[in-house]
């Protein structure tokens, strides 16, 4: 597999950056639907990843647990009765579970509530991270919320706690959007349509600018303000405009500047 394909797998969250760095001694097994991956020699010897859409954490865990049972028939995992499964990083001890949910939080970002959210979520044993792009800016207002504590709780408790927190965050995000809509309805609408305008007509656009504008348009669609854009199309663009995926679609390696040009073209054609 060439390096473009590998990086695009990171962009699609199929493998981790860690695995990519250790490429020569690592391997990955993927299913056809690309929602299950088994990484070998990532940070630990084996790392299972199961992705489901929405809030189906329980289903994802049950699937991962069945896979774990199958692997365990052949492999003896390092285990301690007090510390649980012995992982190479002490932050993963115990269940070894990292349950996470990706969330689009433009409302909380706009109302500058994200820092409050981060510190509160930390206090309950969870973390929230932005998805970083080429620079150090958080791209597209997309955040990943996951459990920090993996030892002392059962898998079910970890998942239930996370779901409870996610539901509160969803409420807060809705509220933030309502506040903006109430206080600055015209500015909000203006901003959403300007974003759509740039995406439709730009000739050169960077990945991070593009993701931030896509976020704004998505917010417009979700709030029922922008009506003629399909959310599925936005989801597709979210992956396809990223550097490696874009080069993969074009089937060749492309310089950054030319990428910006091709990205604009892809956007224009898709949002026409």
């Amino acid at each position: 597999m060439d390096s473009l394909n590998r990086v695009s797998m990171v962009e699609k969250h199929l493998i981790s950056m860690n695995l990519l760095k250790n490429y020569d001694n690592a391997a990955v097994i993927l299913n056809k639907e690309e929602n299950v991956s088994i990484m070998i020699n990532e940070e630990d010897h084996i790392r299972l990843q199961v992705i489901y859409p929405g809030l189906k954490l329980k289903e994802a865990y049950e699937y991962a647990s069945r896979l774990d049972d199958l692997i365990e028939e052949r492999v003896n995992f390092a285990f301690d009765s007090k510390l649980g499964y012995l992982t190479s990083c002490p932050t993963n001890l115990g269940t070894g579970i990292r349950a996470s949910v990706m969330m689009h939080l433009p409302g909380l970002t706009l109302t500058k509530s994200i820092n409050d959210l981060i510190s509160t979520v930390n206090q309950v044993g969870m973390t929230i991270r932005g998805i970083y792009g080429e620079g150090s800016n958080i791209m597209g207002n997309i955040y990943q919320i996951s459990n920090q504590v993996s030892l002392g709780l059962s898998e079910e408790e970890i998942i239930n706690n996370l779901v409870a927190v996610i539901k509160k965050i969803i409420d807060q995000e809705k509220r933030a959007r309502e506040v903006i809509l109430q206080t600055q309805p015209k500015e909000l609408e203006d901003d959403m349509y300007r974003s759509l305008g740039i995406l439709k007509y730009a000739r050169l656009i960077s990945a991070s600018e593009c993701l931030n504008l896509l976020s704004r348009v998505r917010m417009g669609v979700e709030m029922g303000i922008i009506k003629d854009v399909d959310i599925k199309k936005l989801n597709e663009l979210l992956v396809n405009v990223q550097p490696a995926s874009l080069q993969l679609i074009e089937g060749r390696e492309i310089e950054a500047r030319e990428r910006d040009f091709i990205r604009a073209k892809i956007l224009r054609e898709s949002l026409k």
Partner: protein, 177 residues
């Protein structure tokens, strides 16, 4: 409703602020709202959104834990030859034996990360049988105490039978292993 500031135009901007638990509401017209927040009102200026993130804390046990003690001497893991200094540098242990070798240093650290040091999740099938029985018996014994203190003797008797059965299974398992 009229604007609280000019009392002339209709109020169509409603701002709720909660500062130190005190809620204040403001109802302003477009123009006064803009004037109050400067001429250029960017989208999503600090509007004192009524946050209730503190509610997220409800129902969660506060985590506790000490700080790691200072490290004494230069221990080396007999299996992978890693030192504790190595671990401090890259944050990863070398092998499962490291957790035994550096137990004194690791336990406070683990306690600080997770708030406890007792695994409560899934158990390996092969060696987990014994552990699971022991854990279930402990849990049932607590329930038994609880039932007795509430004078729920019928339930207590049932729990006692369950414990007996599990202890039998545990013995069988131990004899087999």
């Amino acid at each position: 409703m009229l604007c609280q500031s000019c009392n002339e135009r209709e109020a169509n901007v409603h701002i709720t602020k909660i500062i130190n638990g005190v809620k204040t509401e403001m109802h302003l017209c477009d123009e006064c709202a803009k004037a109050m927040h400067g001429e250029k009102v960017g989208l999503g200026y600090e509007m004192g959104m009524p946050l209730s993130f503190q509610n997220i804390l409800d129902g969660f046990v506060e985590m506790m834990g000490g700080f790691p003690q200072s490290i004494i001497g230069e221990k080396t893991c007999p299996l992978c030859k890693m030192t504790f200094e190595d671990f401090r540098r890259n944050g990863r242990i070398g092998c499962d034996e490291c957790y035994k070798t550096f137990k004194d240093e690791m336990i406070p650290l683990i306690r600080r990360i997770h708030g406890n040091i007792q695994h409560n999740g899934k158990l390996p099938r092969r060696t987990g049988g014994i552990l699971k029985y022991k854990r279930d018996i402990d849990r049932l014994k607590d329930e038994l105490k609880n039932a007795v203190s509430k004078e729920e003797f019928e339930r207590a008797a049932k729990i006692r039978d369950e414990i007996k059965e599990l202890e039998m299974k545990l013995k069988e398992e131990e004899n087999r292993g």
